[in-house]
Symmetry: C2
Subunit: 490 residues, 2 copies
Amino acid sequence: MRARRRQRAAVLVGCLAVVAGSGSAPGIGTAEDGADRILGAAISSSHAYETLAHLTDRIGPRLSGSANLERAVAWTAEQLRGYGLDRVWTEKVMVPHWVRGVETGRIVSPVEHPLVLTALGMSEPTPLEGVTAEVVEVTGFEELRALGDRARGKIVLFNRPIVPNGGEERGYGSAAGLRYRGASEAAKQGAVGMLIRSLGTASYRLPHTGGMAYEEGAPRIPAAAVSAEDAELIHRLLAAGEAVRVSYVLGCRTLPDAESANVLAEIRGREKPEEIVLIGAHLDSWDVGTGALDDGAGVAMVMETMRLVRALGLAPRRTIRAVLFTNEENGLRGGRAYAEAHRSELDRHVAAIECDGGAARPLGFGVSAGEGGVEIVRRVASRLEVLGAGEVKAGGGGADIGPLAEARVPLLSVRQDGTRYFDYHHTIADTLDKVDPKELALNVAALGVLAWSLAEMPETLPRLEPKTEVRSFQAAPVKPPQVAPRPPGS
Amino acid sequence: MRARRRQRAAVLVGCLAVVAGSGSAPGIGTAEDGADRILGAAISSSHAYETLAHLTDRIGPRLSGSANLERAVAWTAEQLRGYGLDRVWTEKVMVPHWVRGVETGRIVSPVEHPLVLTALGMSEPTPLEGVTAEVVEVTGFEELRALGDRARGKIVLFNRPIVPNGGEERGYGSAAGLRYRGASEAAKQGAVGMLIRSLGTASYRLPHTGGMAYEEGAPRIPAAAVSAEDAELIHRLLAAGEAVRVSYVLGCRTLPDAESANVLAEIRGREKPEEIVLIGAHLDSWDVGTGALDDGAGVAMVMETMRLVRALGLAPRRTIRAVLFTNEENGLRGGRAYAEAHRSELDRHVAAIECDGGAARPLGFGVSAGEGGVEIVRRVASRLEVLGAGEVKAGGGGADIGPLAEARVPLLSVRQDGTRYFDYHHTIADTLDKVDPKELALNVAALGVLAWSLAEMPETLPRLEPKTEVRSFQAAPVKPPQVAPRPPGS
């Protein structure tokens, strides 16, 4: 990791900078010209990495309700102000305040083993003495329902492995619903506890936390993720015909909602300031790790794009608005609050781009828009082909900008190579060293080119058809829909 | 992991079994014939994996002094007796009894961060309130000495990254001495605590424990390994010119020595029963993980070789003796006790083979013997070439059989692909799922062919030259020499 860092400066100004020139003449006003200048500046700067380093090393994890998240709100706003943008402001959002406590677990019989586990975000705690019961294992909701009464009094283990780039069948998306709704589904069949095999693609005995919610009316049983290894061990013991008893203790708590904020910044459009291209990422992270991939990288990309456009003296036809959303991970309150507060101007949001797929090298973009939208973005992306980032797929968006679909805002995302994203996602290992400064710079280039082009080109993307089901091709799929907000506390 | 297991039966009897025939006629008595039969039987059986599964899943971690280790002594002896060998017995060994306790750490300033750390085996505890001090970072003993008085009152962090297959310059061996002797070297310069970057080759925020010892007369300061990520974070903060204060608490303790045992088993030679080919592995493991790679795999290989030779009705010219050593990890008392107890017959040990490099696919053997020894083993190994396991290198042995060098016993080891070994070594992630049953079967084949051939061939290997410095090419290098045993407790 250290060698990589030492090479950074040399590489950033080196091998790729040749792309920057690509025949464009100096000047302001044409989409192509501005895009080339952003591209060149992005790949020859390490500023985004420095932003990310501050966010992760100097502030740290940023869970909703934490002092760190509010430090991040203040620091990012201050930084954005330093860029000399037209307007920087915050919009207050009340967010859930869930805190992790002690968390321990073990297999009690047929043989004692410690379990490596971590509470799912928003889980209720166990009683002080923990939950102890026999385990029943299922791979999904169908198998759970087939258990009928045999889940009663048991701990249900959702044990569904996922693989890198596994798509809807075998990827993250195939199991995220189990994590999100599994506790209530199990509770409705009488289960007293819910465990899930971590939604991860590496095997280093790491538990992966993540969001969950309880269904109105179902008993609120405590929910935790165990490491892949522990899920496999339980599976082997069960497969041998053993009754497997597990005990676990979770000391997490939900406190009264806390005050947080979305951070917003604008470069006002020179011709059509009322038309807005939104670029967004989320400022909050899980409390484990330092949220470098999820979503510090996205925050750094968004901030750096704003800085570059202004520093280059570029004046886009339309307004570019950055939004650093709060509380994506365990509530989506930031995304919802934005849609609500800006309802009157959503029909003038000509595009919203979310960056929430890590910092691995960019592959291109995902686009959810009306007919012909993908083709327009393909033309924009063509100048990124040399970088391997020119591939545009139908389907784009992100959790925070999801609520804008109702107003038919075209939704886009920067798509990264997701092969290793879920090795680290939502774990203590999501730290700065997982980000390659060169790859982060390429992502800034991709976002910058897209944002600038959508803000500058004469036409706008066709709006979403009414009631479009938005699917995202980014590495981190759109989080499953949240149930109606509940009063905090137990 | 599950898919792999499901394919096991099919694969073991499938694609590789074709090698087994290799033109040998049935019969007993020639070295080649027996070797071919062992080879064929080894790669068509999953029995070694079943042994390993019991040791790891049903017994668990096996640290010296633990009830689990003594369960493993009893169970392996019972299994070996079930194989119908000529003699199975145990030899009592008193072992250190060190136990891990609470272990927590954090960066206190310039910014709060939790540290992921684990005590080094045999470390003294910290005071209850922990050790809190500024950190000084070095990459080795030279830099430490250059600090002079600047280490006084500080916590010394040995921050030396290692890489897979990095050899003496950049591999495990390049840093193991820092872990082993670092606390005393730092203490002699006035340090109050010692931390070391984990000796590991992956970055999943895992701390790697391992052995250490205190030097007579030096202050006994508490020693722990931090994860690679945490070492990098401290490095970045220091590199920015910050004073970095760290606090950590270790609750480990050293109790009075406990009774354990080496487990021995023999197939007596038909012509020269007094000549012994020793095959060994160590039964103990660290308390973290379940010791699947280190060294459950070696134990399974040794036991399976004994089972196969007997089950095939093969009668070797010389005696094959299996030794499952106790206490390799934190004392080497088993290896020393064996050499001491068998001193009178060491000149009739014609070879000793250690298996302590994991279970990845075998590459061949390492050989420490007198002139011409490597060539003899090359001839033996030639029948493993089709399996990719025919490469013989000078330099072989292992920690447990190291004490036999003084009696000039030729020392050998089975060499595995070590690329990923140190991803998991000495961590909670050293669990059964890291072992591929097919690769373990290939290792049994390699060990079986070598042991049988050395026991059966007319000649014996030339003995070590007096005072040979034995170097090992196995993935896990010979542990650094231990200081003189000290009375337990603080």
